[in-house]
C-alpha cells in the first residue's frame, strides 16, 4: 500500500515561503512525476514527504495515517538520491543490506532478498565490490537495490538520472519503468526534464514557485495545458506562443501552436517567413523561422526530414486551427 495525501502543506525557510498551501493525493501504485524548472520546490516537496524536512504547517498522511511528525525511518518509504548516496566504505552487498540490518531482519531473509535484488538488477557479479569500483549506471542500480529490499510502501526518486550520460539515461529510464510495472508500488519521481516526465509518468505534477500548475496524465498535459507555463514547459521542442495582433484575431491575449501542428510549404500558406537554422534529426527536421511578422521569437516548425529547405529560403506556414491553444491575459486557458 502506498497512498500519500498532502493536506494544505506549507514550507518556509525563515522568511522565505517555498511551498504555499498545497494539496495533493498520490494513489497507491501510481507513478507520479514532479516536474518543473530548478528552484520550483519539487525537491523540497519530495524531502517533506520523505521526512528529511519538517513541514511548516499542514498534514502529510501515508495510507491514512498521520505521518507529519514521523521520523523518516518510520514512514516506510525508500529514497534514491541524485548522487546515489551509496556508503563508500561498504561493499555493494553491505550497502543493500544496510536498511535490513537497521531493521534487525534475520540474516537468512537478508541474504535471500539481496540475491533476489541483485539478480533482477544485474548486480550479482558486483556484490563484493565497493561503490567506487562501479560505473555510474551500476551505482544507480545499487541505490535502487538498496531501496527495493525494504519493500517500501513508496519509492522516492530525487533526479536520479541527472548524473548519467545521455545514452545511459535512456536505458535507466526504461529500467525504472519496468521496475514499476513489476512491483506496482507507488513511485514519486522528481525531475527537471520534461522528457523523463512524459515518458515515465502515470501522473505529472507541474510545479512552479512551489505552486502546482497542473496535475494530469502526460497526454492531458500535452493536449490541454491549463496555462501558458505548462504549455511552454511540456513538449519538445517548445510550443510557439504568439501574442499581439495575430492572437487578437482569435479574441485572446496569446495563442499557442506546437511545432508539429504547423504545416510548412514553399509555395503558399497563412504566414510566411525566412528559414534560419535547420536542425536535421534524420526523420524530422526542426526549422527556426524568422521575419514572420508575428513577434520577436522565431517560430519552430517540425517538417519531414526530406523537405528540401536551406538557410535563407522563403517558407509559408499554416497552423492547424483545431490544435490551436488559446490563453487569456492571465495566461490561463481560454
Amino acid at each position: 500500500m502506498g497512498r500519500i495525501t498532502l493536506d494544505k502543506v506549507t514550507k518556509s525557510f525563515g522568511e522565505v515561503n517555498v511551498i504555499p498551501p498545497l494539496d495533493l493525493t498520490i494513489n497507491d501504485g501510481e507513478f507520479v512525476v514532479f516536474v518543473g524548472p530548478s528552484g520550483c520546490g519539487k525537491s523540497t516537496l519530495l524531502r517533506l514527504i520523505a521526512g528529511l524536512e519538517d513541514v511548516t504547517s499542514g498534514q502529510i498522511r501515508i495510507d491514512g495515517e498521520d505521518a507529519t511528525d514521523m521520523p523518516p525511518a518510520k514512514r516506510g518509504l525508500a529514497m534514491v538520491f541524485q548522487s546515489y548516496a551509496l556508503y563508500p566504505h561498504m561493499s555493494v552487498r553491505k550497502n543493500i543490506a544496510f536498511p535490513m540490518k537497521m531493521a534487525g531482519m534475520p540474516q537468512d531473509e537478508q541474504n535471500h532478498r539481496i540475491e533476489a535484488a541483485a539478480k533482477s538488477l544485474n548486480l550479482t557479479d558486483y556484490l563484493d565490490r565497493r561503490p567506487g569500483q562501479l560505473s555510474g549506471g551500476q551505482r544507480q542500480r545499487v541505490a535502487i537495490g538498496r531501496a527495493i529490499v525494504r519493500e517500501p510502501s513508496a519509492f522516492l526518486f530525487d533526479e536520479p538520472l541527472s548524473n548519467l550520460d545521455a545514452a545511459l539515461r535512456v536505458n535507466m529510464r526504461l529500467e525504472i519503468s519496468e521496475l514499476h510495472n513489476a512491483l506496482k508500488t507507488t513511485m514519486i519521481y522528481v525531475t527537471h526534464d520534461q522528457v523523463e516526465a512524459m515518458t515515465m509518468a502515470d501522473k505529472i505534477v507541474v510545479l512552479r514557485a512551489g505552486n502546482i500548475e497542473q496535475v494530469g496524465s502526460p497526454l492531458d498535459l500535452y493536449h490541454s495545458p491549463q496555462n501558458e507555463f505548462v504549455a511552454g514547459f511540456i513538449g519538445s521542442p517548445k510550443m510557439n506562443l504568439i501574442r499581439g495582433a495575430e492572437a487578437a484575431k482569435h479574441g485572446v491575449a496569446t495563442i499557442g501552436i506546437r511545432p508539429e501542428h504547423l504545416a510548412a510549404s514553399t509555395e503558399s500558406g497563412l504566414w510566411q517567413g525566412t528559414v534560419g537554422v535547420a536542425e536535421h534529426l534524420g526523420s524530422d527536421t526542426f526549422l527556426h523561422v524568422h521575419d514572420h511578422g508575428l513577434g520577436e521569437e522565431p517560430l519552430t516548425v517540425r517538417v519531414d526530414g526530406e523537405m528540401p529547405v536551406r538557410h535563407g529560403d522563403r517558407i509559408f506556414l499554416t497552423p492547424d486551427e483545431s490544435k490551436l491553444h488559446r490563453f487569456d491575459k492571465q495566461g490561463l486557458r481560454a
Binding site: G51, L52, E53, D54, P71
Partner: protein, 290 residues
C-alpha cells in the same frame, strides 16, 4: 536543511564542546581580571586587598616591561621576516622538479616536529656553546675567536633558533599553496605572452598572498607566546636582554609569586594577542564563506 528533531540532536551534541570551552575561557579569564586589581602575593597570604590600577601602573611603568615589549616585537618581527622570506624562496625552489624531491621535503619539514626544549638545547649546547659548540670548533678551524652567541647576542640567537623551528611551517604551507595553483592558469598566461617574471608577479604572487597572510598571522599567535626556548637557553638574560612579555609575566607570577602583578601583565598580553587575533579571524572567516 534539517528537521526539528535533528536540530535538537545537534544542539545536544555540540553542547559539551561549547560548555567546556566556555568554562575554560570565562573562569580563568575572570580570575585573571580580578587578581589584576588585587595586591596579592603568594608569599604573603591573607594580605590580599583591592588596589585599583596599581598593578597595571607598576607593570606598565616597569622598565622591564618596555624592554620585554620591545624584545617581543623584535622576536616576532625577526622570525616572521626570516621565515616568510626564507619560506617563499624555499617553496619556490622545492616546487621545481628535481631528483629526490620527497626526501628533501621530509628533511626540510623535520625541525617543526622537534619539541621546543630539544631544539633550544641542541642549538645552545652543540652549536652555540663557546667552548665545545660546533660553531666554536669552526671558528677555531679558521683561526678566529669563538663567539659566545647566547651571551653576546641573546635575542638574536633566540630569533635564529625559533626561526629554524618555524621555517618548515612557512615552507610547507607556501609549498602547498604553490602546488594548488592551477597549472592551466600558468599555461594560459604563457600563451598570452607572459614571461617567467611576469608569471611570477602577476599569477604566483597574488596566489601566494593569501597563504603568506595566513602564515604571518598564525605564526604571530604562537610567537607571541615563545617561552620554552627562552627558559632553557638564557632565562631571559643577561638582565632582561632576552625577556619577552610571556617570560616577564611568568617570572613575575611564578618566580616572584606576585599574582596581582602577573595578572595585570596577563591582561596586557591578552589585549595584545587579541589585536592580532582579530585580523586572523577575519581571514579565516572569509574562507569559511567561500
Amino acid at each position: 536543511m534539517a528537521t526539528k528533531a535533528s536540530r535538537a540532536a545537534a544542539r545536544l551534541m555540540i553542547s559539551p564542546a561549547v560548555l567546556l570551552l566556555l568554562g575554560w575561557m570565562i573562569v580563568p579569564l575572570s580570575m585573571t581580571l580580578y587578581f589584576s586589581f588585587l595586591r596579592y602575593n603568594l608569599l604573603m597570604p591573607g594580605m590580599e586587598e583591592f588596589t585599583g590600577w596599581t598593578n597595571y601602573r607598576f607593570f606598565l611603568t616597569d622598565p622591564a616591561f618596555t624592554a620585554a615589549l620591545w624584545n617581543t616585537l623584535l622576536l616576532v618581527g625577526g622570525v616572521l621576516l626570516i621565515t616568510t622570506v626564507g619560506g617563499t624562496l624555499l617553496a619556490l625552489l622545492m616546487d621545481q622538479p628535481f631528483w629526490g624531491q620527497g626526501i628533501v621535503r621530509i628533511l626540510v619539514i623535520a625541525p617543526f616536529f622537534v619539541m621546543p626544549t630539544v631544539s633550544a638545547l641542541v642549538w645552545k649546547n652543540m652549536f652555540m656553546n663557546p667552548v665545545n659548540g660546533l660553531f666554536a670548533h669552526l671558528a677555531k678551524f679558521f683561526g678566529l675567536q669563538p663567539y659566545d652567541f647566547l651571551a653576546q647576542a641573546p635575542l638574536g640567537s633566540i630569533i635564529f633558533i625559533v626561526s629554524w623551528q618555524w621555517l618548515p611551517f612557512a615552507t610547507l604551507i607556501l609549498l602547498t599553496a604553490l602546488q594548488s595553483l592551477d597549472q592551466e592558469q600558468l599555461e594560459a598566461a604563457e600563451m598570452d605572452g607572459a614571461g617567467p617574471l611576469s608569471r611570477f608577479f602577476y599569477i604566483m604572487v597574488p596566489h601566494l598572498a593569501r597563504a603568506i597572510t595566513v602564515v604571518i598571522l598564525i605564526q604571530t599567535i604562537f610567537l607571541l607566546s615563545v617561552f620554552a626556548e627562552i627558559l632553557v637557553t638564557t632565562n631571559g638574560g643577561p638582565g632582561v636582554a632576552s625577556t619577552n612579555l610571556t617570560y616577564l609575566i611568568y617570572m613575575q607570577s611564578l618566580l616572584q609569586f606576585d599574582v596581582g602583578g602577573g595578572s595585570a601583565g596577563g591582561v596586557v598580553a591578552i589585549i595584545l594577542a587579541n589585536i592580532v587575533a582579530i585580523f586572523l579571524m577575519r581571514m579565516i572567516g572569509k574562507n569559511l564563506e567561500a
